[in-house]
Amino acid sequence: MSLSDTELSDLRAFVGTMIPASARYGMPGADDDLIFADIVKNIGRDLDDVRTALGRLAGIAKLDPVRRLETANAFRAEGGPTLVAIARVILLCYYRDDRVMRSLGQEPRPPFPKGHVVEQGDWSLLDPVKARKPFWRSAS
């Protein structure tokens, strides 16, 4: 079962309130066409929780931007598993969008097969610890 048109409308208003577009940072909003489509596609196993959350957010699409944010923050303040579920599905789609990743200075790619470079670091930092006497307790 999928979300109704009314639920989709409220969801889109909510995600755009949660993460709006930012010209300053060159970021799309979570209500961007591509990102929102990804969110809807990935609700999957969280459908019941998302639907419950949307029940608490019902009518948000009809509010002005100020009231939308008030409503969203009131929902957030209530907390609970439905908040976690809806926030999770939004964030895990938003923070893998190519434009978002590039704006954050991240390469939009999977970790494999290229991997990453991690500096060895200064192992001389360990010298004071190496100088320490063994301190494990003998059990014999």
């Binding site: 309130t17 993460i19 970021m27 969203a72 926030a87 938003y94 999977p110 990453h116 060895q120």
Partner: protein, 534 residues
């Protein structure tokens, strides 16, 4: 009806794989039944753009969330810590961080040294050659000379320090506290057909590179080449006994749900500290009305989980984020008992790198750190790749009321009763955890971090499952003897974390496997002297 095998192993994870490989040299007919599948390296999340998202789906650490066909549900009851695992060839070594410390010598003698719980019937010295053998088989990186441990020599050099490690090193030096590069079951050089780590950074839900040592790519290829049969998608319902009270085999369901009886001369259980008592409690007969090998009443009791506390903060300098294995250093400064503290025993501090972009966004949203609306983007930039975290692994002392039982309602897809967890944290553990969190904040402050977050205990932190079929010499106070054989059933062995007497305060996989190799070695010696079933 299948042909009778000499040795039937249930579970192909950390201990089942080790015992299968060790026994293979006997040339006995050995069969391992595994309820899950092989996992292909191409299936691991780091192959795709949705790599981080899958941590909340088909590669979730909590089996109730993951809910694969091969998983069984777990009723976590009122436990503040939920059990996590993986079911497949390699078991939970598929889904672990590969942080690989050994127990310390003192961990085997807690009664003698500290007057609590019980001593183990084996000691560090006895296990030392098996630790070394296991390090070679799994492929362990690290650095010899840690003053917190007896001298040992990991076969590969340590994981890179990185930006976060350098921060921690300087901070701990400032405080005068111990730190050291972790023993880690991650290949830092090409090793035994495995490629070296390339810092994919998302190690826990499986390593696409094959650098992380899960037993499907370490022990199993060797065991299978040596003649061991590994049969997947076989979920064991119960261990069956004959008229003499010996194990005669098991009943299992295949992938199609068809029931089979597999006869065996001896049975070895390796299903972890929750799966093993579940199986034993489900194995009821006239002789064993309360579960097989349970005359002590201790099957399922004394569950230990190592309650974890996560403490983290943020620094101004960008750090490693999720690049590189997430754990590469430990501190054992507070490991041993100190009479000046208000608790006995102690804990390990694991020093972390950061998190991925999605995990940072989700956790910071849940904890109210990341605003919604216009300011979201500015604040997020101050968080992403700026996190410095650490976790406290507390030693969990055995308490009989912490236990695994069978849920009266919940069942798996084959209709087998599921486990129920009843668990509370002791006052000693709570004090220890508070101490660990306070010390963690001191370290983070010394490292220049602020804006602290704490999760104590970590809800989905039941990685380490121990104590539910404890070993000992007294059949009234233990389930298995000092070499893993059940007191009540002389051809039934247990080799996983269930048999631990106490938990120590370190990740258990290294010691679980060393103990499995020790038991396998004892089995081989007793086969030679024809005393195995005496």
């Amino acid at each position: 009806m299948h042909d009778k095998v000499d040795v039937l192993i249930i579970g192909s994870g950390a201990s089942g794989a080790a015992v299968a490989w060790s026994l293979a040299e006997t040339k006995m007919r050995i069969l391992c039944l595994e309820q899950g599948d092989w996992v292909k390296p191409t299936d691991y999340p780091t192959n795709g753009r949705d790599w981080e998202a899958r941590l909340f789906g088909d590669f979730a650490i909590n089996p109730n969330r993951r809910a694969r066909e091969t998983d069984y549900p777990i009723n976590n009851g009122t436990s503040p810590i939920h059990v996590v695992n993986f079911n497949g060839v390699g078991g939970s070594t598929i889904m672990y961080t590969a942080h690989y410390p050994r127990l310390h010598p003192s961990d085997f003698r807690v009664k003698t040294l500290d007057g609590v719980a019980d001593d183990w019937p084996v000691d560090y010295q006895t296990l030392e050659p098996f630790f070394a053998e296991n390090d070679r088989m799994m492929g362990v990186s690290g650095l010899a000379g840690d003053p917190a441990y007896p001298l040992h020599h990991p076969p590969m050099p340590p994981l890179p320090l990185g930006k976060s490690g350098a921060r921690f090193g300087k901070a701990l030096n400032k405080l005068g506290w111990h730190w050291w590069p972790s023993d880690s079951a991650i290949a830092t050089t090409d090793y035994d057909g495995r490629a070296a780590c390339i810092n994919l950074g998302h190690c826990t839900p499986g390593c696409a590179q094959g650098a992380k040592a899960s037993t499907d790519i370490t022990y199993w290829p060797h065991a299978i080449r040596a003649g061991v049969e590994l049969r997947t998608r076989c979920r064991v319902r119960e261990i069956v006994t004959d008229d003499s009270g010996l194990a005669s085999g098991v009943i299992y369901y295949d992938a199609e749900g068809e029931e089979h009886f597999q006869p065996a001369e001896m049975v070895i259980v390796a299903c972890n500290g929750v799966g093993t008592p579940r199986l034993m409690l489900n194995s009821i007969s006239a002789r064993f009305p309360n579960g097989i090998a349970n005359s002590s009443g201790l099957v399922g009791r004394n569950l230990m989980l190592h309650p974890f506390a996560l403490t983290y903060g943020y620094v101004e300098e960008p750090l490693d984020g999720n690049r590189g294995p997430p754990l590469n250093l430990w501190s054992q400064e507070f490991y041993e008992t100190d009479p000046r503290r208000d608790f006995v025993r102690g804990y390990t501090l694991q020093l972390h790198r950061g998190t991925g972009t999605i995990v940072e966004a989700i956790t910071s949203t849940i904890h109210g750190r990341l605003p919604w609306g216009e300011d979201h983007h500015r604040v997020y930039r101050q968080l992403m790749n700026h996190r410095l975290g650490m976790s406290t692994i507390t030693e969990d002392l055995p308490e009989e009321h912490n236990r695994v039982t069978l849920d009266p309602v919940l069942k798996d897809s084959n209709g087998i009763p599921a486990p129920r967890i009843d668990y509370t944290m002791s006052d000693n553990t709570k004090k220890m955890m508070a101490h660990g969190v306070a010390r963690s904040k001191e370290i983070l402050e010394a490292a220049g971090a602020s804006n602290f977050g704490v999760e104590a205990p970590i809800l989905n932190g039941g990685w380490h499952l121990m104590g539910t079929a404890r070993m000992g010499t007294d059949p009234e106070r233990s389930v298995v003897n000092e070499w893993g054989r059940c007191h009540d059933v002389k051809n039934l062995f247990i080799v996983d974390g269930s048999i631990w007497v106490t938990s120590g305060g370190v990740n258990p996989t290294s010691t679980i496997q060393a103990l499995a190799l020790y038991i396998a070695d004892t089995i081989k010696q007793r086969l030679s002297s024809a005393t195995l079933f005496d």
